[in-house]
Amino acid sequence: MEGARPTNSEERDGRSKEPSPSELLDRSKMLNFEFNGRRMSAFEGDTVASALYASGVRIFSRSFKYHRPRGLLCVSGRCPNCLMSVDGVPNVKACTERVRAGMKVKSQNCWPSLEHDIFSVIDKIGRFLPVGFYYKTFINPPIEWSRVEWIIRRLTGLGDIEEEIASATGKGPKDGRSIISSSFEHLNLQADVAVIGGGPCGIFAALEAGNAGARVVLVDDQPALGGHLRYSGETLSIDVATGEGAYSGLKSSAVASTLEKAVRDRPNMTVLDNSTAFGIYESNLIGIVRGNSEIRLRAEQLVFATGAHEFPSVFQNNDLPEVFLGRGMQRLINLYGVIPGKRAVVVSNNDSGLGVARTLMDAGVKLEAYIDSRKAVGAPETLAEIEDAKVQTFLGWAVKEARGSKHVSSIVICEVDNEGELVHGTERVVSCDLVSLSTGFETEAWLLNQTGSRTIYDELLREFIPRELKPTVYVCGDLTGIHDLNIAIMQGKVAGLSAAANLPAMARSTELKVEYQRKSLETYSRLVSQYEGKYREGMKHTRGPEVLVVEYPGSDKMRKRFVCVCEDVVAKDISLATFEGFDDIETLKRYSTVTMGPCQGKMCSMPSLHLCSRVTGRSIAQTGRTVSRPPFVPVAMGALAGAELHPVKLTGIHYKHIELGARIMDMGEWKRPHVYTSVEEEYKAVRESVGVIDVSTLGRLDVKGRDAGKLLDFVYTHIFSTLKVGKSRYGVICDDAGIVLDDGTVTRLSETHYFITTTTGNVEFVEEWLVWWATALRLDAYITNVTAGLGAVNVAGPKARDLLRKLTTVDLSSGAFPYMNSAEGEVAGVPCILLRIGFVGETGWEIHFPAEFGEYFWDTLLEAGKEFGVKPFGVETQRVLRLEKKHVIVGQDTDALSNPFEADMAWTVKFEKEDFVGKAALVAAEKKEPERMLVGFVMKDSMVAHDGDQVFSQDGSRHIGFVTSSRFSPKVGRCVGMALVSPEYYKEGSLIRVKSDDALNGAEVTLAPFYDPEGKRLRA
């Protein structure tokens, strides 16, 4: 079997005979799944990794660069060694992914198979690939980077997403749907106290905060709470002083279950299991990922009980399969009933190695040796038990190298001197098929650091421990660098009580309870410092050389010492990079890529720090650590995006357009008819009889109040305070640099009430802008956005009056209702605001009415217009009609530098006003020669220019500007347009060239509208 070790049948069933009480498995339920095309079986509760390991699989991946075989290491989702593709999803951690019946699992980054990967040849030439290799090679011809890059590119990357892309873009084998039917969602939660980490200290923190009345959310990334109590397999010894002496003498997993039940039974407690907090953001916002969901948790107080993780020490071949981290080994044995091997070696430099040795012995694995770099241990009674079991113990020894190809077969150990150096000539070979490393903890301070709280290196504990905590932040447990259950329990209680006590609006039940809590807090705080003191004393006695990175003469010759398993960075790379000048931990990271892989430094941050500090001679504390950026674990893009919802705005008439067969286009969030039949036909109707267009997407604002006119005078360049009631006026809004931002009409409906239209896309902006200035100037003016409430139709053409007369009693004659006037009245029985304006250049009314009448109003207009040949017209026809009139569209015929003078709209600027937004800039602009001017042009031949074409001088030698709009004009019979050009061309009859399709086409400048230049038709 692929990736599997040749085994006999007994070993293939690699499970303990009797299920242990700590197991997460339901051995009565079997599940089948596929691994690289083969059928595999698992128990309910198994992870992909535990099921595969139990079936004999030992190689789980091939490494990023050298394609070396890699096996399980952390068994907790912290390292990159078991990344696989699951149901087409790449880079899934097999050690945390539960088996589901029928799932398809594939290995990654290898060919043809995990066991035999031809790319592993890269490993053999590894010494020709020093750190910074690519920076130093492929610089000059003939092997330039541009020639070799594509080859290197094809060799990199881990997971493959071809399948998913194919299915998402409709080329998939199935029905075009994603091969995984996943729905992603966002949830929002709030808490008084959030506790991150559901180990013993986190549970006690949650319980104490809950007892005090706080609403608590407990977040834990495991399926079962209890942290290491779940898998350590120890019999607990708990002091009475902690208040939890009753648990003493019990099995740790049983206590974990009891504690889990206690929190789950609490009414004011929410337990989020299988949930990983991935980021702490501004104002205590916690990003949490749980399956396909992202949970945003906002909490008043944060308790960090995130513990610590182990990392491997650095020796030759330390990456061989079956070299485990101690806690990973314990998980495999105690949570999944796996018997990991036959002959094990435990390598340690702290007391947790003793516990691992016990776990292995309890599981029936033969312990070949216990190796500890210290001369004394903190739990001599456990050491005695190990020795009693006839296990060889080596105190003051460390591992120099692991041997084996694809699997560990033995290790070489050496004596260690007082400086932590290996003693030459003391080598001994210990044969084994399993190595467990308990070579150091790193506090899991990643999330804590994101709060702005600091961590400092503690020389005694040899870990980065929390200091200078931000307000509302509390820590407890392994995260403090102290690995002691009694202390952890009390620290948890202190954290929970303090968090609750500092809640601003704590619902305090009774004075008595508060007093009790205050006393408990005092007591436990005192006890914690006493116990911590004792713990530190103990550390001083057992403390020996740490031996994180094994140095040995010739240690780099052929066998690699891996610092970073994600990116295949070896010890030599770090030393060389540091020597080359990358001695700042931040540049070291970027140059060597150490800590930048999928584990984001969880496995390599401490060893690389040690190496850097060794080369530079600076202490660990001086060397410091890199910034901890979110996310703490990689998070699926789908979960971050949530349900993909995209708002669509439809006018009240939208479905009538569909019925009429209109081609629909997007305009911002709106949907609008682009064209119904053809531009020619629609154009003809408007110019010769009558056309109707749905303009409900226009922004509409009501401005009311005593100072409404004053406000508009200040914000627009024109004057509106003098506008007579019933009149409309065109207006332009500029920013303080005099640049045109928006335009529209302003109609005065009463002394204190103006009705404004804005362009479709800008209504929110204009609303904000007006509100901002009304507030800043302290004006009595109130702005209401009425866009959604009003439908609007423009009825335009020589027969528009005839049509509307059939439907209204409002006097529409030119005498009674001239151009740029307004009226309120009923049309077809609907209350309306009628504006006589003429964007398309014909007699016409823009009619605003309650949106709910949209379909009725539209149908009634079309019905009444039948006898005149009325036609609905779309946006494209309107563009042609308005261009013939040279009516400017802001944003198309103007850009981010256009002032009203350049846009040929000088008449909209009234300098007689005392002040208005943009006045100073416009006064200056008026005095100087403009840099360009908006002009009209007519093409000389049949060429139709494109919006955005460039404009040149007549002889083609000078680039003078660009086309803003251009269309074929039925009126002119040729293409007409507008262009922003050098000011010397702002002259009737100037000759210019428009570069279209790479040809320079002649055109002539016109300053007047192309259609009805006197404006007789729109006033008729």
Binding site: K136, E586, A636, M637, D895, A896, L897
Partner: protein, 405 residues
Amino acid sequence: MRALFRKEKMWQRHKLKPRYDVVVIGAGVHGLSIAYYLAKNHEITNVAVLDKVYLGGGNSGRNTAIIRANYMTVEGVHFYSESLKLYEELSKELNFNLLFSQIGHLSLAHTDSAVNGLWRRAEVNKALGVNSRVIWPDEIKRMVPALDTSDRPRYPVKAALYHAPGGVIRHDAVVWGYARGVERHGGEVHPRTEVIAIDVKDHQVTGVRTDKGEVIRADCVVNATSGYCTTVSKMVGVDLPVVTHPLQACVTEPLKPFLDKVVVSANLHVYVYQTDRGELVMGSEIDPYSSYSQGSTLETLESIVAHALELFPGLRHVRVLRQWGGLCDMTPDYSPILGEVDGLKGFVLDVGWGTYGFKAGPVSGKRIAELIATKRTPDIIRPFRLSRFREDRLVSEKGAAAVSH
């Protein structure tokens, strides 16, 4: 190959000297390239580049390393296209492989007006000799098969501006390459050395003071900082029309190669490309508020990712590995501020780089060096002088630079 196995230091740790000809504040690509070209082109080698943090620890290390020249204004196209040409030769020049991948750059349009904007850029680019053209969904689909070019998305892709010489570069390598170049030509690089004051006497800059108490004399001080260009200029009483906004980006786990173009959508405020290592790099437009925080927000991450999924729906299960933020010094016209300041001798600006500074590192370094050495402002940077704001001669790149890349 010999160079590969030679153990060489890239730079040294120096003690600060009491006097330099030029002090450059900011050891990013701009500051270092100024020092490099001062030494290389003008033999001014008594130069120190100082930085508050590590080499390239500002935006040179935080930007997403996209190089292009397809700008909107004539001034912009000239300027960035000179920079692109310098970048094309820079690996050889510095004898350091900067991993410049000219994979091609696509700016997508999802609306009619955006199509017009692209057309205008394509035509301006062509007119000035820059390789750009508008392409349509069929061709886009062929270039980027993973992109959803169907009409299913809320805003389907309508067209793209294809800029073949655009691409990405290893941004840190550019910093290191220049830093080594500075040192080899006799200049000095001083990371973790913060300037806290600039001395001025009789309208002439005379030197700087550092956080460690050193007083350094220099007649020419260059402000080549990002994020803090306003605070540094304030040290000499110069107010800049700059507002600082955060800009955020993120990167995913490495994947097998499937995307070999830079894909930008201004309408969706997002850009995406895949590195040689297989990671997807994604970024956004600037955050809507001003701030000096380099922290990350969940909201922006969600928005970047959601928009990227609109373009590439097959990426839902791809995981984000890391997010980060940088600081963008935004000017009113989305163009930089380069050159001297009226009424203050010896103070040179290379600031206001918004979201487009990295692309311009080589050209501004070369031209600012020329300005310092010759005491004349080169024509190519004259449009970007500080006084343009007073003269109302803005160079608006808003249309081409509002979404950062």
